[in-house]
Structures are given as C-alpha cells and as structure tokens.
Amino acid sequence: MNKCYINGIGCISAQKTFDGGFLNEVEVNTTEVIISAKNPDYKAFISPGAIRRMAKGVKMGIAASQYALKEAQVEIPDAIIAGTGMGCLQDSEKFLKAIIDNKEQYLTPTSFIQSTHNTVGAQIALNLQCKGYNFTYVNGAISLESALLDALLQIETGEAGTILAGGVDETSGHTMSLYELVGLIKHKDQVPMDILNPKTPAAVFSEGAGFFVLESQKKSTTYATLEAVGIYNTLRQNEVVSFIENFLTTNNLKPHDIDAVVLGNNGDVAFDGYYNEAERLFPSTPLVYYKHLSGEYNTATSFGLWTALHILKKQEIPQIIQKNQVTKHPIKRIILYNQYRGKDHSLTLLNHADL
C-alpha cells in the first residue's frame, strides 16, 4: 500500500488564507452572520472568456486548485475529485428565479449549465485539459471527506499517483434567506459570540474553497500524510466516544497517540455538545478550533484541514485557534472531527510527513 502525501494546498476563505502565510493577519468576525470569502485576483487564474460565466464558487475552486497544484509542482493530476455541500447555488437560484418570474419563457442556458453540481471539477479539468478520473461528491458536511476518502483509496492502491481533491461552497442570497427562516443562521443580535461557550443555536455562515494535492511520492513541499478518513451518517451524542475510539483502534492507535485534535465547533448550542463528548477522550491534548475564523459551510473542514496541515509543518499552534493551554512537542499526529446538526460525522487522521 502506498502512503498518501499531501504536497500542495490552496485555501480561499473568510480569512486571507491564499497568500502563503498561516493566520498572520486574522479578522475575527464580530458583526456579520453571513461572511463573504476574501478574494485573490481571479483574473490571474481564469481567462476573460471563461470568467464571465462563473459564479464565486467556481472561481474560488479554480483559484484554490491552482495554488495547490503550483505548490506541489504538478501540471496535470491523474484525477480531480471535488466535494460540495450545496453545489453551485448562485447559478441554481438565478435559473430558478428566471423560470418562475418569466413563467418558463425566454430562459438562457448559461446559469443552468453552471448550476450542475460537478461544474467546479469539470471547469478545473477543462482548464488543465485533464482527461482523468473526475468525481464530485455532494453530501453535506462530509462532501470534502468523501473526496478525500476516494483519493486516499486510489493513492494507496496505486490506481492514481497524483490527485487534486478539494471542497467548495458559496453563499447565495435566496438560500441564505431560507436558512434564516428555518433558524440555521445566527440572528444579528447574537454576534459577537464566544464560539466555545455557545448560548444560542445556529451558526455564522460563510463560504470558501480548499484544494489539496495528494500523491504517492514525498516531496520537499510535503505537509503530512493522510492516513485515514472515517464517515458516519448519524450518531447520538453518547455514541461519539466509541465512534472515535473505534476509528483509532482500526488505525492501531489510542487517544494518547494523538498530539492535537481539530474540532468543528460552530457555536450552535444545540449541537456543539458533540465536540464536548469528543474532548473527553483527549484530556491532555491540544484542542484546536477554527470556525470562529472560517464560519460554517458544508466544506468548512477544508479550512480545518488547511489549519491542521500548517500545524504539522510548522510544529506550532497559533493561540487564536487553541482552545486549551496544553502543549505537545513534537506534534506527530492530528485528528480532525466534524459534524453538522448531528449528521455527517467525519474523522480525518494526519501524520507528520516524517513519521
């Protein structure tokens, strides 16, 4: 079985995560409930003929993938595997609104074409002229993890040597309004909030893209190895501990083998209890959280993964993302745990590149 090295990363988010630094300049949101991602200059990545049709998600996905490929020094990967929770919302809404407002008349195809869930993966392939395997997973908060699991299996078996895998989600007016209606988004008077001590339900929403180059060979740019990905559809809070223990056991590990735990706390009092349960297994381990910087979206774990990879490479945890005061040196193994409203539970295990 081949090892799976993560050799390049690209992240677009509510923070300036595309400039190569690791949380040097951080903006902690105190006023908004829906945060837009910070943008690089997309024209540097996409031709004018193509960019004119693209909504934000596609642009973020292409830019993030270019950063990752460049870092890993890869021109054309063997496969492209994308994950998105909601797909291309902006174009979907645009086309749907046109249908309803114009009573099915005078409809133009561009936004329909751009609305298909696999548009990001397809556009990346078109741009690169990559004719290899191309999948898109669309399953809420495990969309990215499904892509990572698929990529991991292919690298391990040698089915592919270089895979670009990532996640992307965009915010969009109509859908965000609907989310507000059903109480998924915090009210404006509920921010600022202490994400680690939530008093109210719902989360602050955002958007972003995180792409990663996974390869069977180690490189000077290697951040870590991806060791395992676990996915589970639904758990009660009292099942979290055994979920994590079983995952570790399958990988011949015990909780004390883990040097940092990255958790997806999003400030939702109704569901962050899952993370409290997870923490019980790791009383003397650094605990990391990030959604106070990234906001919540189905593929926000791409930000968490980007964070974990930097922690492994730099061997330090910036104070702004550490929940407790424990330190561990060296940091050899990191586990990420995430869920959304009790569903789509994921565990991702990373090892230091030299382990």
């Binding site: 099915e104 329909f112 298909t116 397809a122 078109l126």
Partner: protein
Amino acid sequence: MPNKVAITGMGIISSIGNNVEDNFHALINGTTGITKTDYLNTIYKDTLKFGEVKLSNQQLESILELPTNHRFPRTSLLGAYAAAQAIESAGIKNINEVPTGLISSTSVGGMDKTEQYFYEYFENEAIRRFILSHDAGETSHQIADYLGIKGLVTTVSTACSSAANAIMMGARLIKAGKLERVIVGGADALSIFTVNGFNSLMILTDDVNTPFDNNRKGLNLGEAAAYIVLESERQVQKNNKKVLAYLSGYGNANDAFHQTASSENGEGATLAMQKAFEVSGLKISEIDYINAHGTATPNNDLSEGRAIQNVFGKKAPVFSSTKPFTGHTLAAAASVEAVYSILALQNNMVFPNKNFKIPMEELDLIPQTSLLEKPVHHVLSNSFGFGGNCSTLIFSKS
C-alpha cells in the same frame, strides 16, 4: 477476473414498471413509457413527452407508509422505494449486521419542492420543513434513514453519469475492505428546473426519442430510481448468497472539451471504455452487448458512436439504447441501465433500440432494433454527463 464484485440484489422504479419484473416485461414486450405528464405543472405539458413514473407523490408516500409531516421530496420517495426493493431482493434482514453503506446519486435532489415553494416559503410556515430537503445529500440521508442504515452514506453528483460513479465508488470500498455491503445507485424525479434547463439547451425532442437515428432531434426527460447491492466475496460465501451478476469492470474519464457538449471524436467516452476493459481484463471480443447512453441528442450519439468505433473498430457487438423505453432519467440512468444489463445477462437477451429508422451518415453502426435472444456473458454500459464526465461499467454473468 480478480477484480469483480458480486451483485446480490436490485430494485427499480421507472416509467415502464414499479419493480424489476414489470420493467423486464415491458422491455421484452416493447412497451415504452414515454407519455404526456400527469404531475408536472409546466407550460410544456402538452408539447413535450416524458418518461414519468405513474404514481403521484401521495401514492408513493402511502406505499412507503411515511408519517404526514415527512419531508421527502419526490426524488427521495422514488429512491426509498427502489432501494428498499434492492435490499429485499438481496435477502438482507438486518441491515447493520455487517458494515453496510449507501452511495446514492442525484442531480435534482429536492428541487421539485424548492421550485414549487420558491416564494411561498416566506409566507407559509407549514411547508418550511422542505427547505432542508433541497440538497443532494439530504435525499441520500432520507433513503438511508428509511432503510435504517447506520454507517457510511454519501452522494455522487456528476450529472448523467452519477449512478455509474456511485456504483464505482461502492465497488472500490468493497475491494478495499472498508465495507462488506453497499447499496449503490441513483434517483432523479422530474422537475420544472430540468425541463427548462434542457429546453434552453435545445436538446429536447417534441416527439419520442430516436437514438442513433440520422434524424434524431433530442431526448425525452424521464424519472426513475434504481439500486443494486454489492457484497464482498466474504459475505457471499458466508451467507451462500445468490449472485445476480458481477461488476467486473469500470472506468471514468473526462472529455475536457466543453461544459455540455461531448467531443466529436468521443475521446472521453473512448478513455472510459478503455479503462473499464483494463479493470476487467476482458478482451473487446468478449462483450456481447453494449447498453449505450444513447440519449438521441445529435451530439451524444455521434460522440458515443465514434467512441464505440474507436474501441471496437469494425467489431462492435450488438448495442442498443433503452432510453426510448424510460426516457433519460439523468442521475439514475446508469443504475436503471445497470439493472437492465443484469437482466440481459440473466435472460440472455438484448433489448431493442426502439424508434430507429435511418442509420447515421457518419457512422457504420446500426443498433439492435428488435428483441434478440443470444448468449450474453458480458455487458458494457455507458453513461455520459455534463462536464465531460464519461463512465463505463462492465457486468458479467455469475
């Protein structure tokens, strides 16, 4: 064939039948399911024809015994219906006795509700429970919950190749030992969104679809759900399971040509078929029947036809598109056609490519237009989606 994965169950609901047997009888009797719509509220209800499942949402809810406050959009209703059939067909009594997953696929998801209630959501609290049923993943969750599955549940969405890709990922997980069983396939309901989307691309016909015909004008949209159950060799031996057929080969490639159109030389399709052959270890001469994607759009049939010629040269086996029966069921197409491929293997039959009259000028290929009884050992099934997504599956006799 070292790479094959056992298929132990299947379930389907389509415009030509609500179960495997009814679909089979329609296929052998030549009874197509392309009609005017009974349920879609579209300006095209009198001008376009569809492959519609003739059960209303209320009827489906009743059959599934859902509570009144359920939030299943039509895609989930169809999906749960077919997936439950597949599990029963596989003789599974206790769904979680061994690691069992679900990999579903859809392009529509809960769009039928989203479009129906687009503005009404803001006025009417009672229907808001459908807001969270919009996304693709939610339909898979609903199907998994209906079946009682606890474990790995995920969703593929790559337009019209989706279900083939779900099947591929399921096979990969079984081979890697991550799952002992997996229910794989797809579901897509008709929706105003897709009707208008395809219409804006000018690839719908106002008649019945005529795959591989020189005068073909486009596709009929359809809806369906179909699932197959893949099991590890260990489970098959342990439970002495009847194997319906084997998934012996698969491949996915990207055309990287255009967002919606396929390349004229069928490069992506060619690559997908070649990959499937590599995985299966079969020779091209061993394929007895190709169930083509054959949507009857000018573009697909030319591209696919060229790809078949690229791969098989002058020795293409008999082939047909079954979309004149069912319409193009989008994400579910590949799993519908997986069921039909398995039926072909089990019954040694090739189903007809109906509505065909005139061979395409550009190709040396004529589809099989009548039901053909012949030994069928290996079937190749193609499904190609927007975004250049090309998938091929090879099924083999058990």
